[in-house]
Symmetry: C2
DNA sequence: TTCAAATATGTTACATTATAACGTATGTTG
DNA sequence: CAACATACGTTATAATGTAACATATTTGAA
């Protein structure tokens, strides 16, 4: 239940997510679907406790572990990313909108956090990744996971009124 | 007071830090010096509350804001870095041991976190930084601060017994 | 030097983020 | 259906970080 409470575009992406999960033998349950929906509709990074508030619209007594478990699942499936500097979560741009090779698997990405408007842009830049791999290989370090986050001002905020 | 409680090498680095601060017209007070000393002697990232415990050896009733304020100062002076993924702090390798141009100013750096031994290595790799700047410039994003952290296994842990 | 301003620290209280531990339900498989 | 694995509910608490205001210390200028 808790079925079709999201915008049509979101439902489309949720359906894509459901197929990705099915393809690995995992299940996008109603609860996980709802948490993912809340993240996708946010258009900005969302904190776990904001999601909890959202959940409580349906499930009155929901508690933190409910949200954190769903988030852990979604992270493992590569459907969302955590922005460490913000302790907040965003939908994965690549997993749900195109047919990317790495869809449905946690992957290296880079995030640009605009301090003007709060929006976060996901990059998937090979140059950055290669530079990181190259530098670490030189000293014999094997990277398992990387976090790359840049804070600054996006083009819109630079061009517009805000200084 | 709380004067010379650290190892000689640490005191040397603390004295270097004091000179860097003086050069900008800021003061490495006893309290800040002690917090920096605790970070430098840790050899691993240290959490704020671990530092608080350390402080309490001298100042019995110390409270969180005391530590966080000292950490903020040290971050601004570029004497320490925060590892976001660990919510923990490390001494800046570059600021205190050589005479680097960027010493005593917050600067872009990259951190390699070994999940085997817990050690963190600071890089200052131009290739990574350039790749980031290049990728962001293309989309008109102006970077003010960047966080680059890689988790994995260091050379020692890869070579030795641990798989 | 002595007062005023700025800087630094002390202190209390609380906000935010995250997890441990254990019980219950639901689904899956033989 | 029984046994197992997976997912979810619930309570309690841990870990990290800050707001707000009081006090002390340093600095600088009259």
């Amino acid at each position: 239940m808790a079925g079709t409470i999201f915008a049509e575009k979101t439902e489309t992406r949720l359906n894509a997510a459901e197929r990705l999960c099915a393809a690995h033998g995992s299940r996008l349950t109603d609860l996980r679907r709802q948490v993912l929906g809340l993240v996708l509709e946010a258009a900005r990074p969302v904190g776990a406790y904001d999601l909890l508030d959202g959940l409580r619209a349906d499930k009155k007594g929901a508690a933190p572990p409910t949200v954190y478990r769903a988030l852990d699942f979604l992270l493992e499936e590569g459907l969302i990313h955590k922005i460490e500097r913000l302790s907040a979560f965003v939908g994965c741009t690549h997993a749900l909108d195109g047919s990317h090779a790495e869809a449905g698997h946690p992957h290296a990405a880079q995030f640009l956090i605009c301090t003007g408007c709060g929006q976060v842009t996901e990059l998937d830049d090979h140059g950055i990744l290669h530079a990181l791999i190259h530098a670490t290989r030189q000293i014999g370090f094997m990277v398992r996971h990387s976090t790359v986050e840049a804070e600054g001002l996006c083009a819109a905020c630079l061009g517009g009124a805000a200084l």
